[in-house]
Symmetry: C2
Amino acid sequence: MRRFLPLLLLAFAFPALAQTAPVPPPGNPASEIDSFNNHLAAATRAMDNSATLALWADEGISLLPSTDPIVGKPALAAFFNNVTSSIPGAHMEKFELQCHDLQLSGDLATEWCTEHQIVAIPNKPSFDCRGKMLLVLRRSPAGQWLLTRKMWNPA
Amino acid sequence: MRRFLPLLLLAFAFPALAQTAPVPPPGNPASEIDSFNNHLAAATRAMDNSATLALWADEGISLLPSTDPIVGKPALAAFFNNVTSSIPGAHMEKFELQCHDLQLSGDLATEWCTEHQIVAIPNKPSFDCRGKMLLVLRRSPAGQWLLTRKMWNPA
């Protein structure tokens, strides 16, 4: 189960289908990224795969423990599909996300976050997991902040 | 030993004493960061604590598995001291670092790396560890690229 942790986390953070990313209203980058974080938390909480994948840049790379780097949206989507298909009927009972210490320069930004998730899986004990994440966001030409790098490890 | 992995890694990547960071010769940011990576690898290979700490920004944050975030150079130095004092006589037999997919914007840059280290510890088996890292670098007003965020997990 310990090795499964990052897969499960990914499952609820990397959707399977394409969807339009939210375009932030005109504002300062810090508030735009706060809005991004809210979208990320909501998509994860709802286990809305397409909404979550839409938050990734095409070149996005996810770095999970004891797992090869997952490079690009097609690979993220495939990985996600593999994970969710392994836990049919699962749903997120709780997902909390707090992000800290935003740094910005031009079209790159970075923040680190803590997360706590409780996932109900039919006929199994709930999956209760706390982790840390280092996120790097890149602003697209259209003005959307998108995930370009993400690493996770246990809190 | 598994829980000790990140501590050991940190030990050889975060020195205890202040030292002047290398100022890159005028060049393009990609070659400057290539130079930074060479300095990081050399300092780690030599277990040169002061040289490694010099590669960190004052506000640097290290995110290790199952460990609270380590925030700022004094905390990094203290953490490093704690680790090295626990393994007297250890030396690095091998350290390899490969970094990939540099992204740059203004004074921020990000890359992800793989590392392989073999550490000889007196009266114990060698410590052989492979990991991945997500690095975020910030260029100082003096033109030095410095580590501002680092996360590690096992390869």
